[in-house]
């Protein structure tokens, strides 16, 4: 069998892929616990930031304690989709995990609303893979800060509850600035945020109607 024969090439590639595939899997499984711990810490930190919780320290336990002390967690299932929802014990602010397709990949985050769902209190992103320096700037403070106190225009069409970028209505109060050079990310974000808000409101309404508040809440993991 010569080096140029298809059989040699095929066998060579199979062996190479097997060896390197095994190596990657081994490293992944060896670090799996650390990866999971890091992921949980990141999630807890983002929740604390979104609800502006007082955290005593920077350890994973400190963030977990802040959440346990201040937040109650519920999972609502609506039309087959589970929604992770959070309620701040003292202020009654409600948060939920949103998810949607950005320009490149899925974007997930948490949005905190006032107890009456009329105002956005905060937005934070858990995961995004937008273009570094452009779309990825959705995580920056100047962008997320714009959402604080923005009213949700429930009386407007479902895709215009929150507007990111130019608005047909001058001085619209439910508008925030888009990111220059990241028009597609901004538009995608606006599209799925509005869709998520609509679905979340419907999910929460159904959940309240079923009066399942009495069911003990599972602890947030």
């Amino acid at each position: 069998m010569t080096k140029t024969s298809p059989a040699y090439i095929l066998i060579f590639m199979i062996i190479l892929c097997t060896v390197f595939g095994t190596a990657i899997s081994s490293v992944y499984y060896a670090t799996l616990d650390m990866l999971k711990k890091n992921e949980k810490l990141h999630k807890n930190r983002i929740i604390c930031q979104a609800f502006k919780l007082p955290v005593s320290g920077v350890s994973a336990d400190a963030f977990q304690k802040a959440i346990d002390d201040n937040i109650s967690y519920d999972q609502i299932t609506y039309q087959g989709r589970p929604w992770d929802t959070f309620k701040q014990k003292d202020t009654g602010s409600i948060g939920f995990i949103f998810s949607g397709t950005g320009f490149w990949d899925r974007i997930t985050g948490i949005m905190v609303l006032s107890p009456d769902l009329l105002k956005c209190m905060a937005i934070q992103f858990l995961d995004q893979k937008e273009t570094p320096g452009l779309g990825a700037r959705i995580e920056e403070e100047w962008f997320t800060d714009q959402f604080k106190g923005v009213p949700i225009a429930w009386d407007q069409p479902a895709d215009k509850r929150i507007i990111i970028g130019p608005s047909p209505i001058p001085n619209a109060k439910n508008r925030v600035d888009a990111i220059t050079g990241a028009t597609q990310t901004s538009l995608a974000l606006m599209k799925f945020l509005n869709s998520e808000l609509e679905s979340f409101r419907a999910a929460r309404k159904e959940w309240q109607e079923k009066k399942i508040f009495e069911v003990p809440s599972p602890s947030w993991e």
Partner: protein, 203 residues
């Protein structure tokens, strides 16, 4: 041409430096040098990848079919990049959050592919490994120098530690942490390094 380890190191680190001589790996050079900690992890990732990919490709050079050599090189490089990506994600998640996209791009970093094709596929394993280390170190020295200037000027910190002058008589020079700051620094560094190098070569 037979190389000695000394020549390999001298070429990789200085005479044929991948950044200011060959102008390779510029994307990450510009992107990650606003913080020294990020830069160090990026450099660690690149040295790890160039060293091991050069070593592996050199070991396999007699067995790799010529027709598919580029595919094999990319596969080997991508595997090492995935391994280093997982390790950084596990050990330093905050840093990974920032440099993650660029770590993935090491796969297509011209330095790694260039050394694999130009050196490792034609030389012995040990020498190829030295070449990988030298190229990685050459890249790292430039990045570390640029980051050591950009972070103090832009943030008033070094490795996250606040410098005494910050907000006393020195105020953050924001342009240094933005892309233009990286272009200025890299341009200046390349200019000085090439001037010095040309003078040395003439002498």
């Amino acid at each position: 041409m037979a190389y000695t380890p000394k020549q390999v190191f001298l070429n990789g680190i200085w005479l044929d430096n991948p950044v200011f001589r060959q102008v390779l790996g510029i994307c990450s050079t510009l992107a990650v040098t606003n913080l020294l900690a990020n830069t160090l992890f990026m450099c660690f990732g690149l040295i790890f990848t160039t060293t091991l990919s050069n070593l592996t490709i050199s070991f396999l050079r007699d067995y790799i079919p010529k027709r598919i050599r580029m595919i094999v090189q990319v596969l080997i490089i991508a595997c090492y990049v995935m391994i280093i990506d997982i390790i950084i994600k596990a050990l330093a998640p905050d840093i990974h959050h920032f440099i993650g996209p660029y770590v993935g791009l090491i796969t297509t970093n011209c330095i790694v592919m260039g050394r694999a094709e130009a050196f490792a596929s034609q030389n012995k394993p040990l020498l190829s490994m030295y070449d990988g280390i030298a190229s990685g170190v050459g890249y790292s020295l430039v990045l570390i120098f640029i980051a050591s200037v950009r972070e103090p000027l832009g943030f008033g910190t070094i490795l996250g530690m606040t410098l005494p002058a910050r907000d006393v008589w020195w105020h953050a020079w924001t342009i240094m942490i933005m892309p233009p700051g990286a272009f200025f620094m890299l341009g200046l560094f390349t200019w000085f390094a090439r001037r010095w190098l040309t003078r040395e070569v003439k002498r």
